[in-house]
């Protein structure tokens, strides 16, 4: 085996992959131990949904983190974190189709046709699929300017997921509100005037020699 002489950024990359897989390992561990409570299928459904949201927020936090700190390698985490958000969303959807409904199309139709929270979740998932399939360097080159436009849709997906989450819970919407506030804050940090302000602060700090 090769010695650990990976460049620094590659080591960070590895860390990102490990961190993103921890929730999955934890879920599998709990499932294997029978620790998922009286309604294990719902628990899997809720946890995969929650993890997808967390990774989506983590991916969305990369650019703002760079804006605020000027730290460049954080930008390299954006893509893997986004892809893991897609992976967890796909697991969430598969849980819904398979574990929850046993792939019973008739029953799914009966249960979800016109269910607004499912439609909103499906719209979010559709965006994540489009982003995942255009996440390669080749796609980026091929699409040029349009790539950036397409990938801005991630914020729409974020908003849809928050609505999906808020409508999925019965009454206590503190969770969706908190996550919604976080995503709104991350979006605010991307607005050009806000970015410029942070950039000026960084320049000033550097000029002052600290």
């Amino acid at each position: 085996m090769r010695r650990l002489s990976l460049p620094k950024f590659a080591r960070y990359q590895l860390l990102v992959h490990l961190a993103a897989l921890i929730p999955l390992a934890w879920l599998i561990f709990d499932a294997a131990r029978g620790n998922l409570g009286a309604n294990p299928i719902q628990a899997v459904e809720q946890r995969t949904g929650k993890y997808a949201l967390i990774l989506m927020a983590a991916s969305l936090a990369c650019t703002p983190l760079n804006t605020v700190t000027g730290w460049r390698s954080v930008l390299r985490w954006r893509r893997p974190l986004g892809l893991y958000a897609f992976v967890y969303a796909a697991l969430h959807f598969l849980t819904f189709l398979g574990l929850d409904y046993g792939f019973d199309v008739g029953l799914i139709w009966l249960d979800v046709a016109g269910k607004r929270f499912i439609l909103v979740g499906a719209a979010a998932l559709a965006i994540l699929v489009a982003l995942a399939f255009t996440s390669t360097g080749a796609a980026m080159k091929r699409m040029g300017r349009r790539w950036k436009q397409l990938h801005r849709w991630v914020y729409a997906a974020g908003g849809l997921v928050i609505i999906h989450y808020a409508w999925a819970v019965k009454a206590d919407i503190r969770g969706p509100l908190a996550w919604g506030a976080l995503i709104a804050a991350l979006l605010a940090l991307r607005l050009p005037p806000v970015r410029r302000w942070f950039a000026r602060q960084r320049v000033r700090r550097r000029l002052q020699g600290r």
């Binding site: 599998i28 561990f29 294997a32 029978g34 409570g37 029953l107 009966l110 269910k115």
Partner: protein, 320 residues
Amino acid sequence: MAKTDIPGIPSSEITPEHVYINRRQFMLGLGGLAAAAALAACAAPSSPAPAVGSVATLAPTAGKSTDELGDRLTTYEDVTTYNNYYEFGTDKSDPARQAKNFRTAPWTVQVGGLVNKPATFGVEDLIRLFPPEERIYRLRCVEAWSMVIPWQGFQLNKLLAAVEPTGAAKYVRFETLNDPEQMPGQRNDWYEWPYVEGLRLDEALHDLTLLATGVYGKPALPQNGAPLRLVVPWKYGFKSIKSIVKIDLVAEQPSSLWMVAAPDEYGFYANVNPDVNHPRWSQASERRIGETARRRTLPFNGYAEQVAGLYAGMDLAKFY
């Protein structure tokens, strides 16, 4: 009043419950599936957790192992750890923890309003006056999960007969204890505490309508609504109000806590009805706790034969 065939009268032989086994096996199966063999070796079966609470010494027992449709009882563990009781937290596992030290004795219930003989009863008096019997009922939550639970209780109509409703009484209004010190959920003001529920008088007088004091042959635990709760098996679970301190006969239809909180989502009747969806989730199917596959939801939760007559001529999509 409709003459009903009451399910779940205790049989002479008492079968102890071994149903824990079922769920464990399923969970291990699910675990194995998810692990895709990777972690299957970790699936060390642990022994079932002992029941919590002061009555843990009594073994949970039931007269039968199924309901009248042949569906197996939900395990005592699940019945006592997966609860919706917002006074003790919004997560299903909260009530078992947060209600542990809830004081259920002494406890009195004030029965009054439009009655000839208003009275306040201690729970012990009620149990003496109306000896509890076992009733095995399906419980269908509005969140589309369900259980089969062996209750001990007495028919509400016996208590109502004792206080003699006047001719003006049309509805029954129930109220839960209001005690934010003991019920942490009541310290937030998202809801209009205390919990209130109501039934039309003929629903309240129906032979299926139960006031329960016990579960699985043991005194009910606080998370199940001890010491006295309503059980109306053909309605969504939230109608079956817990830890009741006040029962009033009234002339006007009472507004329940959920009707006040979300009028477009929760109606007064709340009869289990696969054809009338909740605006945010479907009621066509449900998951029986302990089972993997979904089941189709039955009209009136399978009690249509006994109760459909109460609603003859009513548009149940309008009166949901």
